[in-house]
């Protein structure tokens, strides 16, 4: 109860969307801003680990959207925030999915982005006091 009141009181101060944006750009950063160290660490390890495994499996990072499926894949990849930008800058992953594991890798990268969005929204809910 006291924690929820503290969160509501904290929600009255500062830019309320900061944890949401920070959590999207850097996995776990939204929770770190709210001093949820354990949750933030688990989120960061999970998202970065999943993205790194996807890259290690030669998964594809979408760069353009020529059809609906590619558009959905790109939307998922964009959820990774700066990891996506880093991946594109360093030209990580494969251009074409040629082996089965690359297909798994592509899914890992897309899903890590979607899970990162869920985590960022969770940080936002903590910030606004909707969740304790």
């Amino acid at each position: 109860m006291a924690t929820a009141q503290n969160n509501v009181a904290a929600a009255d101060k500062g830019f309320v969307y900061l944890p949401l944006i920070a959590g999207w750009l850097v996995p776990g950063a939204g929770h770190f801003l709210l001093r949820k160290w354990g949750r933030g660490t688990l989120v960061a390890v999970s998202i970065v680990g999943m993205f790194a495994l996807g890259i290690a499996m030669q998964g594809k990072i979408y760069s353009s959207a020529h059809d609906v499926l590619e558009m959905l894949g790109l939307a998922g990849d964009l959820g990774n925030g700066l990891l996506f930008v880093l991946g594109r800058m360093l030209n990580l992953g494969a251009d074409q999915v040629q082996v089965t594991t690359a297909d798994y890798g592509k899914v890992f990268i897309v899903v890590s982005g979607l899970l990162n969005v869920i985590s960022a929204v969770d940080a936002h809910n903590l910030r606004t006091g909707r969740k304790s």
């Binding site: 354990g38 688990l42 989120v43 998202i47 495994l53 594991t101 899903v111 985590s119 929204v121």
Partner: protein, 59 residues
């Protein structure tokens, strides 16, 4: 380059997804842990069941 088997890729996927689901969908650490384990078992269990169903259909 990493070449996991289909099952090990599934277990890794289920592990990371369950951690995030547990953290984001429940409020207390105890309930987060329980929900995370529940999701992990559902991910892996349903994949095993569906694999057997597809195996039997394909025969």
């Amino acid at each position: 380059m990493l070449h996991p088997s289909h099952f090990s890729a599934l277990v890794l996927f289920a592990l990371f997804a369950s951690i995030i689901f547990g953290i984001t969908q429940r409020e207390t650490p105890r309930r987060m842990l329980h929900y995370g384990i529940y999701c992990f078992v559902l991910f892996v269990g349903s994949a095993i069941v569906l694999s057997w169903v597809m195996f039997l259909i394909a025969r």
